[in-house]
């Protein structure tokens, strides 16, 4: 009970800090970076669900971000559908394509999911680029800020809170999924698909529904991104971007939800901080990834990752000093 209280206190303190940020940080650039962190956190969380929980490898998440972005932006900005509907439609549209793609995999084999997602993300990018009538091609188009009953989220601080609320809702939902019967089924088929089928789990069906659910959250993140940056163009939804998003989930630690947020934060903030050394940015990120994979392949907060090792080390130190 005591341990739980401690966790709760840390959580409350963290929430207070997060809520107070816009009062302390008035620099709009900083707030924009933080919004980006939160949007990428949602994407990394959805990747974590696919890669970390159900154990499939997805190289094309950016395509689903793009589907959510374009769907929500076109509905809201071009067709003037109420914001809340177009925003949710962004998620559902992405989930729909997740389902189509997942069906293909279900009738072939999920072993090919990685290749199929790479192909799919290239197809999507080409469509975004060339379907002028709908997407305005590579010029992209301006999108409007989120709007609820006449209230427009047009200041950096209001956008910060908007992103925060969406991230919190997504986090809670994904956490609930991972703690539910479904979440345990995903983990079971990740660890041993044969034993999972002996337990009565339809392995392919559960891989499929995990993929669809994750695609919904990716789409929501995409919709959020479209209305946050107020401009969308196909250049954002490339395979490079997919790999970066995958890196976030791996860096933070697969299977750890707070890890995904940490991973997104690091891989969003480091490039911003190292803007001065612009030419070396990729080098810095590359070295970071290599070092991490060499010394902590489980990521920062994953099971057996850096954090676990540090905790184990401290415990060992304190117990040996007690013995002295």
């Amino acid at each position: 009970m005591k341990k739980l209280d401690k966790k709760f206190v840390i959580f409350i303190a963290f929430m207070v800090v997060v809520l107070l940020v816009p009062f302390v940080v008035t620099n709009s650039y900083m707030l924009r970076v933080l919004c980006n962190v939160m949007i990428y956190s949602i994407i990394a969380l959805s990747i974590n669900l696919i890669v970390g929980y159900s154990g499939q490898l997805d190289f094309g998440r950016a395509a689903f971000v793009g589907l959510g972005s374009y769907c929500s932006a076109i509905l809201f900005t071009t067709l003037h559908v109420p914001f809340i509907l177009s925003f949710l439609a962004g998620g559902l549209f992405s989930a729909l394509f997740g389902a189509l793609l997942g069906m293909l995999c279900r009738y072939s084999s999920f072993d090919y999911l990685t290749l199929i997602t790479i192909g799919f993300s290239e197809i999507c990018r080409k469509i975004f680029q060339n379907w002028y009538a709908v997407t305005n091609g590579s010029f992209g188009f301006r999108t409007s800020r989120p709007e609820f009953f006449g209230f427009v989220f047009d200041t950096p601080a209001s956008m910060y809170y908007f992103c925060l609320v969406i991230l919190a809702l997504c986090y809670i939902a994904i956490r609930r999924i991972t703690k539910s019967k479904y979440g345990r089924a995903y983990m079971a088929l990740r660890d041993d698909s044969i034993a999972a089928s002996y337990a009565g789990i339809d392995v392919k069906k559960f891989k499929l529904n995990c993929f669809v659910i994750a695609s919904f959250f990716t789409g929501i993140a995409g919709a959020l991104m479209a209305h946050f940056t107020t401009f969308i163009s196909p250049t954002v939804y490339t395979t490079d971007e997919s790999l970066l998003e995958l890196q976030m989930a791996i860096l933070g630690g697969l299977g750890s939800l707070p890890g995904s947020i940490l991973g997104a934060a690091i891989l969003t903030i480091v490039p911003e901080v190292s803007r001065a050394a612009y030419e070396y940015r990729l080098l810095i990120m590359g070295v970071m990834m290599v070092v991490l994979m060499l010394f902590a392949p489980k990521g920062l907060l994953g099971r057996g990752g850096v954090w676990d090792k540090v905790v184990a080390l401290i415990k060992k130190k304190s117990s040996t000093s007690k013995n002295k």
Partner: protein
């Protein structure tokens, strides 16, 4: 008859692993299938639980043809498979493993049943919040058996429960299987350790290189000279 296998043929590509297998398991009985390495024991269980589709023949369970059912459908119908090598979910806790076993159940009695198996296996209760991968081989076997029973099966398939265990632990595991049987569960036990298996079984089949070469009640098999020579090392 709870389980009836008729003229089952199972192939791996071109190679015939099982030819013309026919056998029966009666409700409430413990039927055992003994045979040496490579005889096709595990293959037969894989066919029964829907993991490997037979080339021809029929599997009838509880009056229903399940030959072409998928593995998860078969679990829903009431066959639970406790696999060779235990295959517990290593990164889930003991308690979570047991709950996974009850995945197909929709009733509210799951926690109550878990407590029941904790009473049977106090060692599992001691380790309820430990990761299953950290248990000893014997404990994992107890967990695998309880997990298989958690789906409340009409028929329990046990594949080599003695594999990789120390002799004393093997004794213990067989005692447990006997108790499970006494409780009224129908069991189909596949085992290399013929003596142990026949001691607790009602009926036995002998499998040799993909064919059933004989069957009888267990006691008769234990005392038959052929079986003694080939499988009991006497």
């Amino acid at each position: 008859m709870l389980l009836e296998v008729e003229n089952l043929v199972v192939k791996y590509g071109e190679i015939t692993a099982l030819s013309n297998i026919s056998l029966q398991a009666e409700e409430g009985q413990l039927t055992t299938l003994i045979g040496s390495n490579g005889a096709g024991k595990t293959t037969l269980l894989k066919a029964l639980s829907g993991l490997h589709k037979p080339a021809s023949g029929k599997i009838i369970f509880d009056g229903k043809d399940i030959t072409n059912c998928s593995a998860d459908q078969i679990v829903h119908l009431g066959i639970s498979h406790c696999p060779e090598g235990r295959r517990v979910f290593p990164r889930q806790t003991v308690h979570e493993n047991l709950r996974m076993g009850a995945f197909v159940r929709k009733d509210k009695e799951v926690e109550k049943d878990i407590e029941k198996y904790y009473r049977w296996f106090p060692r599992l209760e001691e380790r309820r919040n430990q990761k299953a991968g950290l248990l000893s081989g014997g404990e994992q076997q107890m967990l695998a058996i309880s997990r298989a029973l958690m789906s409340k099966p009409k028929l329990l398939l046990l594949d080599e429960p003695s594999m990789g265990l120390a002799p004393l632990v093997v004794e213990e595991v067989f005692k447990i299987i006997d108790e499970v049987h006494q409780e009224g569960t129908t069991i189909f036990l596949v085992e290399q350790n013929a003596r142990q298996a026949l001691k607790i079984a009602d009926k036995g089949y002998i499998l040799e290189v993909g064919e059933i070469i004989g069957h009888d009640n267990a006691e008769a098999l234990l005392n038959s000279d052929d079986v003694k020579k080939a499988y009991l090392g006497a």
